[in-house]
Symmetry: D3
Subunit: 268 residues, 6 copies
């Protein structure tokens, strides 16, 4: 159980769902251990948050446990979409623990947001990768099947086609250098937003335990500020691409950002 997620399912305002999918990771695998790592390194945090004057354990967070993953990503996403839909029908906000970024597709399909906001080193705007249309590198593309707009913060790499796609009107790229002090468009306040945190948005110094490390990234505080800014407008959240190949940095940061999301969302 995620520390402090003590609410019963019926009473929950937030439902944590572990989604340890790990089939399309390109370089270093291990995101299947992401949900476990995130829960483990969250033990270190105080229950109380001075920024919002709230206790995490009082915010009615429930931990659903993990949705056991198998090899067929398409089937898995279908099933996971159902789990997330159930959460939404219960009027709770789903909080996914990845697993590879692909799991975000299930949440987007279930929640049907207007805007997809994402912290990521990568554009994830591919049509497919090595022929796989459900690769982690297609997430933003899939999100745009559902959402009207995508905002990708911290993005610094992609294929030439992805960068071309990113120049279209429905995509906004905020490079790492511009994340500090970034202000979202005013319209965002009137939209349903889904917020996805690919931990590799961070510079590898802050989150080495991820599949594809990309230098020149965002700092942990910049990620926190984005989460605090976007959370109040969000209908769902995830933190993905954390693996077990570091000394806890990635999991600690990811778990903390999940808590920041809940504090900011609950006390808006």
């Amino acid at each position: 159980m995620f520390p402090g997620a003590v609410a019963e399912r019926e009473a929950a305002d937030y439902v944590i769902v572990g989604a340890p999918l790990d089939v399309s990771t390109t370089f270093q695998p291990g995101t299947r251990f992401g949900p476990d790592r995130l829960r483990q390194f969250a033990r270190t945090f105080d229950d109380y948050d001075p920024h919002t004057d709230a206790h995490f354990s009082s915010l009615d967070v429930h931990d659903h446990g993990d949705v056991h993953a198998w090899d067929n990503a398409a089937e898995y996403l279908d099933y996971l979409e159902g789990v997330v839909t159930d959460v939404e029908w219960d009027d709770a906000v789903p909080l996914l623990l990845g697993g590879e970024h692909t799991v975000t597709i299930a949440a987007i399909r279930a929640l049907d947001p207007d805007v997809f906001v994402c912290l990521d080193a990568h554009l994830d705007l591919r049509e497919a990768y090595d022929g796989n249309e459900l690769s982690h590198s297609t997430v933003a593309q899939h999100a745009l099947d559902v959402a009207d707009e995508a905002i990708i913060l911290g993005a610094r790499t992609g294929s030439e086609d992805e960068w071309q796609r990113a120049r279209e009107d429905d995509v906004t790229i905020v490079p790492p250098e511009d994340v500090d002090g970034w202000i979202p468009p005013e319209s965002l306040a009137r939209e349903d937003v889904y917020l996805s945190v690919d931990i590799d948005a961070a510079d590898p110094a802050y989150a080495p335990g991820t599949g594809t490390l990309e230098p020149f990234g965002v700092t942990s505080r910049e990620m926190r500020d984005v989460v605090r800014t976007i959370a109040p407008h969000s209908v769902g959240f995830d933190v993905v691409e954390v693996n077990d190949r570091d000394d806890g940095q990635a999991a600690t940061l990811g778990a903390k950002l999940l808590r920041e999301f809940v504090f900011a969302h609950a006390t808006q």
Copy 2:
């Protein structure tokens, strides 16, 4: 390049093929780094082998490099089968570096052996795993589509169905306790054999860097003796399921067993 594999392809009697497939690993992923690890830890070995009075670098071994893997196992196995077939047509013996055990299926299909001999903790006699008919746990079952007989040494775990399947006439199980001093059936000398080494046959003390650790296994010397016994009758060989999650034990053992195979095969 595998150390000592200095032959040109045309002149080669043995061709090493890296097959870093890593999609169906059940527990700990990382077999995609297997070929690299095996080559790296093989640097530590002397070229000369006192047991056979031969130099590895004189045995005409060529390293083909890796066959880059992608997510679709079925397509990958088709492609890999072609690569192995090419090796056979050149009258060379293919030596695969896994990658997950699934890659063995490609080699079996290409080489069409009479007998499948395997060192493995697992029976690998499933029809499918989580719906996946190309899971690493189906290898022996696939082998029996081609071969007349399977001999699995060191096997100590499987599903109830697998154990039932193992009781049929075409399967011989040699439990870990009986591997020491095991003598193959005489008929083996008249057959084409394929020898597959799943490194998890070893007790985890000898090879912790693998996906599914299973205690009470075989010692490194027992594995060596099986390789020396079977190699002279073999038309192909692989070592699979080595990952990068230990301090070099699994890769060192795997690379050494590959060399034992070549020495025993070449000097028979």
Copy 3:
């Protein structure tokens, strides 16, 4: 949850209790992560056991979760004793996951066995260590406050006083060299036995992830055979001193021995 421990508490014949106490570890700390590691590395095992022709998930094992530890060992042992007593009153066999060896004291006090059988590199017969009467090195001494007899298998080190204590009639030491093929006294069949597995009984090759490594130990198969022999006569079991400072060897072995206990006990 320990994989396969799917029974409800009321229906359980076996109850797993995590006891992550980690205050008196002498050298390398980390046993607080023992229960997590044991559960994690148990995922790798097949449900079915060919030795007993049984499925683990059919043997009515329940996982109680962890009894959160705090700094005061005396108070913690009192509390834990209550938890174990509850299990016994429900006619179930408690299976503790340490945590340091000290947690065994709570189980012994709750279960009041006649004989204490222990796999351990250490005698654990101290009166106190650095003034601490509840050090992990006093466990066998505490056990003898309750039990009439202690049998310590694999023991190879201790203080001079401990070795002198070990020469008394109520203690039997089976050195590592004699564990293979060891036959328990016939009387054992008529007694209530408690079986405790300190993972450091194993040679460090088999279980490097423990607090105090002691060479020249027992092999994994020898430990298995002891567990299979003693389990049918046992009223309780634990596996302790596993930490997270290796590549999974210690946890894999410990989790497997717990399963061996349940299979052997349930199918006697």
Copy 4:
């Protein structure tokens, strides 16, 4: 021996004392290896410091070695207080190498400073933790039994009670965002200050090897500047909560900050 700490005890102006206490660590244990790690990673530094134009080995630093820790924190602190008192009576400045933060209590009691300045992610203002009044999370509270004032830099988490306590007049909190360029109150120049560096003040990117990682922390340069500013007014110093669970980052930073303290203090 800490590299460069070549002075004899009698001639020493600074005395390093290892204090490897490791009993109340909340999450990841291992601070018992802190003194060893700090000494080991200090080998990498040049003797000469360009900032102060001084050689560390000329500043009369002596390494007392470690005060072997045992389980009873209260007794240990008493003993350690004696060791630190001896250092003070010899007119030398004590430099503690933790061990958990609790060891600071002994130094404070021995040195009786007016002001307690601390770099820490945590307020450490608890009365007790899990009933333990000598937990590492009570250090600042204990310091205020002796000192008139506490200044905690980099603090970003604590219980609600701790934050309430922090609002009283005798406590100053400098959040991580305000540490850069922080100027101490003028009055500090006229006071006896004790400076304690809990390495978790740093962002986990800079010091992952610590018990409780807390994101959004201070940079290494900001910590250095605080040490340089406070050192000239200090009667004692410590660096605590370094463990062996990273690749040397925490120990390297901690050892460097100790040297910065000595250079700044000696050349004021």
Copy 5:
């Protein structure tokens, strides 16, 4: 092969040469694994670079492989100098992958630049270290035997003699605090520059996998900006002192900086 270095030698504009020398490393050895690590962690990068609108695989980079190192540094440098000279004669730019910093000496001797620009925590201006005139800590000194001028960015430590040497006219030191926004002297545009990246210039948060960690260093972005600025004027490049003792941070950063060099040089 370095990912994307697909050019044949004859057609190459850039030639990567691995130089895994690892004999004089002062503290933590392992730079012999540097070339392998750099190639491995470079797999994670997209081929396309949005900053220069170029594909790495189109820039005619060839990977020569490694020049196997042996114990005699003097002989090795002679041999390596020949290899680099061959590259220059082929009108290609050599890109060395260290190995210890000493290998830079061979490149400097082969290329005879006017200016030596170096990112390094250390001055490397010693005459010798422990009597060794070919220690990694003498590199800048050797460079000045050839070049007229040395600019060392990020330097923060050295012996008193080195700092004195650094005050002479032919050496410019840019301390870490001044690297951000640093503008090279105009004259640089008219000179042949050699650019050497000792990965320990970075703060240990960004590159823990190196021999001698030195806190208070440069950020990854600052290093990138230096590389982009200097590359257009450069006749050669290296990245050195990366080892295998971290979770990929150092190798990822080093490999990325090599790519930044090629992109900036090729598209100037």
Copy 6:
């Protein structure tokens, strides 16, 4: 200090000398950390030895500390030879902690034994390696410059020339399979013997933390029995080639064997 080595130098019967030379290691470096690791993992042992009924701390062992190593192996060996000679002149038995195997040469030269007994995976009978006559792989050859005879137990690899050299009368090879129960020639009792333990004699399962792992080795108990057999006739001892690249297995085994040597020698 090696735990229990509490004697003053003048009163010592045994003198431990750390010799962290690490220049010619062929594959994985890190033996420079060997003495530290051996001392650290020796903390786990009880002072008392039941086999000889003796306390280690009563056997007058002194720890001289380390002889700081530098790059020039020839000079270092000269210096180290002097240190060992001093020990012998004080009528004490030197116990070296390597460092690479090369350091044994210094001890042999100082002690002038009749017989060189060595546990090693390698013959170490080269004249030179990559031109280096002081490589770790030449140790037995150098020993035979001084001693009349060499006995190498556990040897299983070497060059063809080394195996040919090994066939001469003054060399006895005991392959790993024959170490169990090996009985030394009677004549040994009348000779001065030097006993050298290269930790790679052990199978990698027992000692993965070494430079060149070689499968099919000796067990820890077999090594112990050799040490106990040879120690009474020995004038010097070393344990070498331990590095820091495992989870403590190699250092624990090495430190234990040193203690076995002292117990067996002192109580003969």
